[in-house]
């Protein structure tokens, strides 16, 4: 940097978020872990569900399926759209209740707002 010295920016080392850290939000960090665990289990469940649906699609279409197809193929656009709807509904049904205090369990999915 031409005019800025390293010392001018030393303060940034101490800003919140400068280091990755490992925040916990609950007094009892077991609750933090448990929430992480249920989300991870949901994701792992979904990977299996996706594979099963893809396998069924392949079998129905061809009667046989190769491991290579299952690992590296991609479901049809039609199946992907169906899976997306199923996934959104499952997430809302399983996890939505976390926000029932203020009615957030009923909030439908939206994309990130750009403002």
């Amino acid at each position: 940097m031409a005019k800025l010295k390293e010392a001018d920016l030393a303060y940034t080392n101490d800003l919140p978020g400068a280091e990755r850290g490992n925040p916990s939000y609950f007094e009892n960090e077991v609750i933090d872990h448990l929430l992480g665990i249920v989300l991870e289990l949901g994701a792992q469940f979904w990977v299996l569900r996706d594979r099963q649906a893809f396998l069924e699609e392949q079998l129905a279409a061809k009667g046989v399926v190769s491991l290579e197809d299952l690992e590296h193929g991609t479901p049809s656009d039609e199946l992907q759209a169906k899976l997306k709807a199923e996934r959104l509904a499952m997430i809302q049904q399983v996890y939505g209740r976390l926000y029932s205090t203020y009615g957030g369990d009923k909030a439908g999915p939206t994309s990130a707002p750009m403002s």
């Binding site: 031409a2 939000y25 929430l35 479901p75």
Partner: protein
């Protein structure tokens, strides 16, 4: 290995995002993306109303000064539902990066080899410091969005960031739609002369490519402080057949002559800069723009348009999502910094800060 085989072994998805290694990897990340859509994005408005009600009930003023923001943090982070929301947000972010990096790391060597092979090929050019890892400044090495390795230290920072943008925006950046919108919002001089354009902090380069597509006769330059980013942006430009010139360079130390560019863009750069760096960068843009040239800054609105809740949100994002410079940025009022540097403010609507941005013009000498 060709770019195709290294980056898109299972075909391209939603434009040119790098393809994940297996269908299972993709299903995992799709779950995270939709969990974000349902459990974060859809909650943003109702959880904001809920939080603001808690603040009103506790008599917290709607002033975004640091003490009030701290009082809001102390209050809101005692609420079990809000703790859950911020826990879920952080866990989804951690899970996303872990799933993405596990998947792309399996092809790390192939991807890096494809970058190397692309380097001397055109269209367009790329240049960077050979000692990029050792020479990266500390302030630019933070793990923004808790991206592993941050923007400057990991060779795969470009593909990581690109895929991150897809997931964080819930698909709004797919098919480079966002980048095309940004190229439309980039202001050009009133006389219509557009010979040279500069894009600051290009990351994956989607916007820079869109600028070249919109102004095919202009010379389009893109800079980023990160060598991995400009390397990836070059590969993306080759894919698009766009002739753009990418350089590893700091926005606060531009290696271009005075009065050189007709238009300069900074899309989502300033909230990731410490304020002293932002000020230097603005002075540099003033120098390299020609009189009548325009500078477009697309980024979050500043403190004047934000209440204490938005400030609380920024402080939480800073601490938990690796955005250390966001709160100071929001309080800095970048539109004032631009005017202090000599620019004339031509347009700024805080409600459209991210879509139309702040547009300033360098006055005639």
């Amino acid at each position: 290995m060709s770019i195709q085989d290294a980056l898109f072994p299972r075909g391209k998805i939603a434009g040119v995002y790098p393809t994940l290694t297996t269908r299972g990897d993709e299903a995992y990340v799709e779950f995270i993306e939709d969990a974000r859509n349902v459990l974060m994005h859809a909650q943003q408005r109702p959880i904001g109303e809920y939080s603001q009600q808690l603040m009103t009930d506790a008599g917290i003023a709607d002033s975004p000064d640091p003490e009030t923001t701290q009082a809001a943090i102390d209050l809101l982070m005692q609420d079990p539902t809000l703790k859950t929301y911020y826990r879920v947000k952080r866990s989804l972010q951690e899970a996303f990066w872990s799933g993405l990096s596990k998947s792309l790391n399996q092809r790390r060597d192939e991807i890096v080899a494809a970058f190397d092979a692309a380097e001397a090929a055109g269209p367009g050019t790329v240049e960077y410091d050979d000692n990029w890892r050792e020479n990266a400044p500390e302030y630019a090495s933070r793990e923004i969005h808790i991206q592993p390795g941050g923007y400057v230290k990991d060779e795969l920072a470009g593909p990581f960031y690109d895929y991150g943008l897809k997931v964080f925006l819930g698909g709004a950046a797919d098919h480079d739609r966002l980048a095309k919108g940004v190229s439309m919002a980039t202001a050009v001089p009133d006389d219509g002369q557009v010979s040279r354009i500069l894009d600051l902090g290009v990351s994956a380069g989607a916007t820079t490519i869109a600028l070249k597509e919109k102004y095919p006769d202009a010379e389009v330059w893109g800079i980023d402080i990160s060598a991995p980013m400009v390397r990836y942006a070059h590969v993306r430009a080759m894919e698009a057949g766009a002739e753009i010139h990418l350089r590893q360079m700091a926005a606060e130390e531009l290696d271009f002559p005075d009065n050189h560019f007709d238009a300069v863009l900074a899309m989502l750069l300033f909230h990731e800069l410490p304020v002293p760096v932002a000020k230097e960068a603005i002075a540099e843009v003033f120098r390299v723009l020609r009189p009548g040239g325009k500078f477009t800054v697309l980024d979050f609105p500043s403190v004047r348009s934000r209440g204490v809740y938005s400030m609380f949100f920024a402080e939480m994002d800073a601490a938990d999502n690796g955005e250390p410079y966001l709160p100071d940025y929001v309080r800095s009022n970048v539109e004032d910094l631009l005017v202090e540097a000599g620019f004339e403010l031509e347009h700024y609507d805080p409600k459209a800060a991210l879509t139309r941005g702040r547009v300033v013009v360098k006055p005639a000498a």
